[in-house]
């Protein structure tokens, strides 16, 4: 039979090897047959009995989610027991009757429960299906006492997230939500499955991996009535890591109280490290409403609310900085030698450029003002002149130096970068060259300039802490002290490359804003503590449009100016910097500065 081709010798070798292979195939084949004989004949009867009584259940043991503390160890987020009602589809023989009894006992809708059960494929029919989360004490008592009458029903105690102070720091802490199809499939949540609650926002979302812990489970053998006969194997759950925030609970409360019934944001930062002491955004929401799977109506109400309560204004709200921006223009002017601190500049209340007149906020002008007085009284004309000589690109250089126009890399999602315009940017974005008039608006923080409250807290800190830009952080510690805790250390993102004397001039002027007569920030003045700060009043609509509206009279709320105030205290040894924004609040000096005073009082004491 064998055919010799072109190369008889190698083929001969192949034939020999094929004989060896046939032998190996035979050996493995007999191994398999022997295994089947062992399972089906030797141990077959035992397996037959097991298959007839097969009631091996898989029970989940949910892990405890890590708790969240404030900087002093005060508990902010905890877990509390929730008594949840389950039905095991395979064991609820007479389903119609069961639904009827549940309806009669605790008023569960037959349609709702029925629909939850019909969606279950037979493959999972031994997995308990969650019917009702968090039963009340009364409901629990009724179910427990009737359990013998309710085949297939079981009650399991699961930990449920509890936000102790409700709305407190809700934007920062975030909320949980049920894992969705996309998250299940993208491989980022390998230990989760349908129905699990995962962190979706804030610290809960960003640190989900650390907080969540690992689900445990047990394989148990039960008898026909569902009683556990023996445990076959068990994997204990692993609790999630605790998280300690940098937030000071009391300061956070004061901040939120100050913003109650207003829209706005407050950031309080330790200027020595970038640690965030308070971060408030108003309006607020209550994350407790999300823990049981948020109801459709509540969700729609939150999403369609025009005040967007879910938005964290402190990091994702972008606003024109108004006069706060004069800090940046001062720095640029002094460094570039354009501002001579001793020289007076005449403010007549207006500044003509081309055929347009730019006005100072003080109608009849400030008269002759030095740099110190210009910043103290927030004279617009002084900064128009400075800005014009600097040009937009030099202003932008210093704005970027203090961290504006880019993200801080803060450890919360949805941070925005704001906007610092340059002539190149304008040409690229709008296709037209930069106009000289726009430089003037830019110098008083209008035109295209946008900043976030978080960025402004960094600006004021860097002026007073020796020129350091710290990366803001809200996490102080991950995990426990005794084993493997991860402590966050201050991260320096940059240092201002400016002369110390210029920083000192700005510091003196900002002290003047609060403490000198006619200073715009007088409402933040305190007896024992020297406070420095800067007011800002940011126009919501353009100067042109504003002419049509009576400025003092009935301006609709959404067109009212935003009130800004940044502050630092005490000036000789800064421990607290503040960035306060009240949307449509009006003047920074009258609306935002008093809030700063209250917060300083709460954190540093004094009156």
């Amino acid at each position: 039979m064998r055919v010799s081709g072109f190369d008889p010798i190698p083929m001969e070798i192949f034939h020999r090897r094929l004989k060896v292979i046939t032998l190996l195939v035979g050996i493995l084949f007999f191994t398999l047959v022997f295994r089947l004989w062992y399972l089906q004949i030797v141990h077959g009867p035992g397996y037959r009995i097991k298959s007839e009584n097969n009631r091996i259940h898989l029970n989940d043991i949910p892990p405890f989610r890590g708790r969240i503390f404030d900087r002093d160890g005060a508990l902010l987020v905890d877990n509390r027991p929730s008594y949840d009602l389950y039905i095991i589809p395979e064991e609820s023989r007479n389903r119609a009757e069961l639904l009827q009894s549940l309806n009669a006992l605790i008023g569960l809708s037959q349609e709702v429960v029925g629909s939850k059960l019909t969606g279950v494929s037979l493959r999972h029919s031994f997995r308990p299906v969650l019917i009702k989360k968090d039963m009340s004490r009364e409901e629990l008592a009724i179910i427990e006492s009737n359990l013998y009458n309710l085949p297939g029903v079981m009650v399991q105690v699961n930990p449920q997230r509890h936000y102790i102070h409700g709305t407190l720091a809700s934007h920062l802490i975030g909320y949980l939500g049920e894992i969705n199809e996309k998250e299940l499939n993208n491989g980022q949540f390998p230990n989760h499955r349908q129905g699990d609650m995962i962190g979706k926002y804030g610290v809960e979302g960003r640190w989900q991996k650390y907080l969540s812990g690992l689900r445990g489970g047990e394989q148990v053998e039960v008898d026909a009535t569902g009683r556990t006969l023996q445990m076959i194997s068990r994997r204990p759950p692993v609790s999630g890591a605790n998280v300690t925030l940098t937030i000071d609970k009391n300061l956070q409360m004061v901040a939120e109280k100050a913003l109650r019934d207003k829209k706005g944001a407050i950031v309080a930062m330790d200027p020595r490290s970038g640690e965030i002491l308070a971060l408030a955004s108003s309006p607020v929401f209550d994350p407790n409403e999300f823990v049981g799977g948020i109801e459709r109506g509540t969700w729609r109400r939150l999403m369609t609310n025009k005040d967007s309560p879910l938005q964290n204004r402190a990091i994702s709200g972008q606003y024109p900085p108004g006069s706060l921006f004069k800090i940046v223009v001062s720095l640029a002017g002094l460094e570039e030698g354009i501002i001579n601190p001793e020289e007076g500049v005449l403010c007549t209340g207006s500044y003509p450029l081309g055929n347009h007149i730019f006005r100072c906020w003080k109608k009849h002008g400030h008269g002759s003002v030095t740099f110190q007085r210009a910043l103290v009284e927030s004279c617009d004309v002084f900064f128009y002149k400075t800005g014009k000589q600097l040009g937009v690109d030099r202003i932008a250089k210093y704005a970027q130096m203090v961290g504006l126009g880019s993200k801080t890399g803060f450890n919360l999602d949805f941070e925005k970068e704001g906007l610092i315009p340059t002539s190149a940017w304008k040409l690229k974005r709008w296709g037209v060259p930069w106009q000289a008039g726009e430089t003037l608006s830019t110098s008083i923080g209008q035109s295209y300039v946008l900043v976030t409250p978080l960025q402004m807290a960094g600006v004021i800190s860097s002026v007073f802490n020796g020129g350091y830009l710290y990366q803001p952080t809200i996490i102080r510690q991950l995990g426990e002290n005794d084993h493997g805790a991860h402590l966050f250390k201050p991260t320096v993102m940059g240092k201002l490359k400016v002369k110390e004397e210029n920083l000192n001039r700005i510091k003196r002027a900002l002290e003047g804003v609060v403490n000198e007569s006619r200073g715009t920030g007088g409402k933040a003045r305190m007896k024992e503590i020297i406070v420095a700060g800067k007011t800002g009043t940011a126009q919501v609509i353009g100067l042109e449009a504003e002419k049509g509206l009576d400025r003092a009279g009935d301006v609709p709320d959404e067109y009212k100016d935003h009130a800004w105030f940044v502050a630092i205290a005490p000036t000789d040894n800064p421990r607290l910097s503040l960035s306060i924004l009240v949307e449509n609040g009006g003047h920074g000096g009258s609306e935002a500065a008093p809030i700063a005073k209250e917060m300083i009082k709460a954190y540093l004491g004094g009156g």
């Binding site: 039979m1 064998r2 055919v3 081709g5 072109f6 190369d7 190698p10 083929m11 070798i13 192949f14 034939h15 090897r17 094929l18 292979i21 046939t22 195939v25 493995l28 084949f29 191994t31 398999l32 047959v33 295994r35 089947l36 004989w37 399972l39 089906q40 004949i41 141990h43 077959g44 009867p45 035992g46 397996y47 037959r48 097991k50 298959s51 007839e52 097969n54 091996i56 898989l58 395979e90 494929s121 037979l122 493959r123 999972h124 029919s125 031994f126 499939n185 993208n186 491989g187 390998p190 230990n191 489970g217 047990e218 394989q219 076959i232 194997s233 068990r234 994997r235």
Partner: protein, 368 residues
């Protein structure tokens, strides 16, 4: 090309073996999906029947040309198949956590299934070309096939599909051993492999590491793989000698078995048909394998021998690993029982591969 002698030498035995296994597969799938009353579930056995019918057409088509034609074509085809594997990772369909399918106008296609066979032909070409000078291979000659093997294996494992990656690797390695590697080279390769393990380990994602750990020690996952293997053993064992009868398997009916239409299809069969049924099915596979070895033995040249041997290796290793896995001899890796388990791409590519086997068998007496 197609002359009378080809029809005379048509391999009826091979065709008969495949037809019997196909019929058993459809019957068994009917039982395995009997209790899934979903719209798609009830259709699975019908779909499998269609796949087999189309598969027979493909099988016949694969006999129409002389298999030497593939020698010229196979490297471009290999490159194409490799790009498809790359494409899967970018635009592939994700199903239960892994990305294995390409969608082609409503049809899903699994390039990794095709790769198994393309791999075999590519290696057959390489070794049949070089055998003339060498009878034993050293490292210097092996780096080319090594690259041929490693690239698709990595892409498949990335999906992640450890099972198919493993099959590609084992089948290729079987072919290298058959082509005869120098003992020293084998030692060096083994050493390099073990040295590379810690490095490869560190490049894996955490969940992939966990999967592999569970692969080695199922006790680590008592609720996943451990549970499944327990239930599969109960299913097989409770079949006893005669089985519980067709459509009467309780493990199957109550869905204690996971993936009972794919990876655990053999457990369904063993429960309902008992030791006698499982033995008969294993014997069918054994005959198929031995018949394939016979074809390899009688092939008129090395290219044919190597292809035939590679196709046989694919079938053989699928059977050995799947049956070992369902009966608890090996940890659970996702390797289905070829031809018996459900899977469109798998059936089509396997039938094409068997068509090639038939091709080689028909041309065993012919000379160029």
């Amino acid at each position: 090309m197609l002359d009378r002698r080809l029809i005379q030498h048509f391999d009826w035995v091979l065709l008969f073996l495949i037809a019997v296994i196909g019929a058993i597969s459809v019957l068994n799938l009917y039982s395995a999906t009997y209790a899934i009353r979903t719209a798609s579930g009830s259709q699975i056995f019908m779909k499998q029947a269609y796949w087999f019918l189309m598969g027979f057409a493909v099988l016949l088509m694969m006999t129409f040309f002389d298999y030497h034609f593939l020698e010229r074509l196979i490297y471009p085809v290999y490159v194409l198949c490799l790009s498809l594997l790359g494409l899967v990772l970018v635009v592939g369909k994700v199903y239960s956590g892994s990305q294995r399918w390409l969608s082609l106008g409503g049809l899903s296609f699994q390039p990794s299934e095709l790769m198994k066979f393309v791999m075999v032909i590519a290696l057959a070409k390489y070794f049949s070309r070089h055998e003339e000078e060498k009878q034993v291979y050293g490292l210097r000659e092996l780096w080319r096939p090594f690259v041929l093997i490693v690239l698709p294996t990595i892409l498949i494992i990335k999906q992640p599909d450890l099972g198919t990656g493993l099959i590609v690797f084992i089948v290729s390695f079987s072919m290298i051993l058959f082509a005869r590697i120098r003992w020293k080279s084998l030692m060096i390769l083994t050493a390099v492999f073990f040295l590379a393990v810690p490095f490869m380990w560190s490049t894996l994602k955490e969940y992939q590491q966990k999967r592999i750990l569970t692969f080695i020690e199922p006790g680590l996952d008592p609720l996943g793989a451990g549970y499944h293997i327990n239930q599969s053993k109960i299913a097989i064992g409770s079949g006893l000698f005669w089985g519980k009868g067709y459509l009467k398997g309780t493990q199957t009916r109550l869905h204690f078995l996971p993936e009972q239409h794919t990876d655990f299809a053999f457990s369904v069969l063993a429960e309902e048909w008992g030791f006698i049924g499982s033995l008969l099915v294993l014997l069918l596979y054994l005959f198929l394998v031995l018949w394939g070895i016979n074809i390899a033995n009688n092939s008129r040249d090395k290219f044919g021998t190597l292809i035939a041997l590679g196709i046989v290796a694919i079938i053989f290793w699928h059977m050995v690993i799947n049956v070992s896995m369902t009966s608890g001899l090996l940890p659970v890796v996702g390797i289905p029982l070829i031809l018996l388990s459900y899977g469109g791409t798998s059936i089509m590519t396997t039938m094409a591969g068997l068509g090639l086997l038939m091709n080689i068998s028909m041309r065993r007496f012919m000379f160029q």
